[in-house]
Symmetry: C2
Subunit: 324 residues, 2 copies
């Protein structure tokens, strides 16, 4: 079971008690996440090259190492829950969810590199370049990114090639220079600037690219697979944008108040670097409140879907309530 502990010392900070998930609700979400995680991992095992005794096996091993290092699998869950809401077929959504997790994993491997965030620990385990070496980590990231597009373009993902092309385009735009990679660049530049030059607006723009673009692409991918009305599109992308930003705010809070053991990675680094985060700009309580507000907004956007939006609602609440 994927374990979902709540935020350390986490009483809710506003009247909506968003952060206080009932044990039963946590269990319901856990069951969903556990099932999706298992399916995604099976699919990845089928898709990724086998580590036989060839000269490239080190590369395949490194790809598998990071992909199977655990993680919350939030993005695949977002794809699948949106797909369920739209009553889409599960097997093809599962391939898209898997491709999304491969793409996300590539970005983590490269982000952890010494020349980037220089992290030794990820999900409680040595980062890819610590376990292997830098060259292998660069290549493992490259290979995962490249194979993401192979998966999407494969007939097994959808019989209609127009749909497959739209997925390729969606993923490439979300992850490319105007999306995630652009956000990563902005982040690096921001680190080397006086902290005063960053305000909440600038940080939100940065994070909307760096983490928000993939979150939105998860919901959009499910809509590409199943079609969606303009109204549905508006509601679901607004939902995704809100929880994406809230997710980052809680991340910043946890980087200040969490422990390395809880988080499975080094904490307090941003503060040590004097880097602007939502926690430094708004304070821990301020950032948490803002995250709760964004998630309550997200939930309002999906209210009209009623019971069909159950998992998306729990997910939005988990984003605020999570302790790691």
């Amino acid at each position: 079971m994927v374990e979902m502990t709540s935020i350390p010392g986490g009483k809710s900070t506003n009247g909506m008690l968003l952060a206080a998930m009932q044990a039963e609700e946590v269990r319901e979400l856990e069951e969903y996440v556990t099932a999706i995680s298992a399916s995604v991992e099976e699919e990845m095992d089928r898709i990724l090259p086998q580590t036989e005794e060839t000269d490239e096996s080190r590369l395949f091993e490194a790809m598998r190492y990071s992909v199977f290092a655990g993680g919350k699998r939030l993005r695949p869950v977002l794809v699948m829950a949106t797909n369920d809401l739209l009553r889409g077929k599960r097997p093809r959504a599962l391939r898209v969810a898997t491709a999304m997790e491969m793409l996300h994993t590539y970005s983590l491997i490269h982000d952890d590199l010494p020349c980037m965030d220089d992290d030794d620990l990820r999900r409680g385990k040595p980062t890819n370049h610590k376990m292997f070496d830098e060259a292998t980590a660069v290549l493992a990231g490259d290979a995962l990114l490249t194979q993401t597009f192979e998966v999407l373009s494969d007939r097994a993902t959808h019989t209609d090639s127009a749909v497959r092309c739209e997925l390729v385009s969606l993923f490439a735009r979300a992850a490319g220079p105007l999306g995630m990679v652009g956000g990563q660049m902005m982040d690096i530049i921001a680190e080397n600037r006086p902290i005063e030059s960053m305000d909440q607006g600038a940080l939100a723009r940065l994070q909307r690219k760096k983490t928000g673009a993939l979150f939105s692409a998860c919901c959009e991918a499910a809509m590409v697979l199943n079609g969606a009305s303009r109204e549905e599109h508006h509601r679901l992308t607004s939902y995704a944008r809100n929880i994406g930003l809230a997710f980052q705010m809680v991340d910043d809070v946890l980087d200040e108040v969490g422990t390395e053991a809880d988080m499975g990675k080094a904490v307090g680094k941003d503060a040590d670097l004097g880097k602007a985060t939502f926690a430094s700009l708004l304070g821990v309580e301020g950032a948490r409140k803002q995250a709760e507000f964004l998630c309550s907004q997200a939930i309002q956007f999906i209210q009209p879907f009623g019971k069909d939006a159950r998992i998306l609602e729990l997910l939005a609440r988990f984003v605020v309530a999570r302790g790691h």
Copy 2:
């Protein structure tokens, strides 16, 4: 004009005089290459994000820096010459040729990184990480790789989405873990092994992935765009495989006998590292002869296309005759 000098001290070493290109032939190929290079560069300028005064502009600048740093544009020429042979429409082949050059440029940027080949000079200019920094270079490579797939999946590349999907799949397989990136991994592993453990067969397998996969994909992409009979497919992929391997052999020869000024990059590195190359395994003359043999084979494969294969034939001869 793209300048095509012939191999230093380059008398032909076998009876076929492959290496001895007539001045007129050189001029004919030069004109073709110059025209294609100009078109590809215009297309890249249209496609790549503009470096306006935004926080990501450093990323866009780094992408543009390497893409516009010159280079022989061999891969785009291979796409276009195969497309011409098949009497395909030029504009859409040009987008595919451009995507191929973006993909190739990403691989050069990452290959030059300190953790990989650690090169300071490429095409006579500072490598990307020297001009910018390592983090920017990693991201610029990632962005170019990602945008390659955006270009291919765009309607402007071909109106038939099935064709676009096939292109995405072809590029991803050629560049992915079982293709180029796998070859790069093999290369790194080979460096750390006793040179005696490498024989010509092992080196050819490595290079068929590391450089051969993209060469083949160039010809295959033109066939995906235009359709090709099984016979044409066999002939053109055999041609590509042969010149790909020959290209690498000549590269190894030039690394031994060329000068830094001619090559626009550091030379003699492989020998200094005690790394197995075709030149070290076969000797400079042996590797050159082998390259000539492969190119004569390549030319035989395309003989039946007659005059339509003119540029491909000149290109095969240039691969052996080139001095940089």
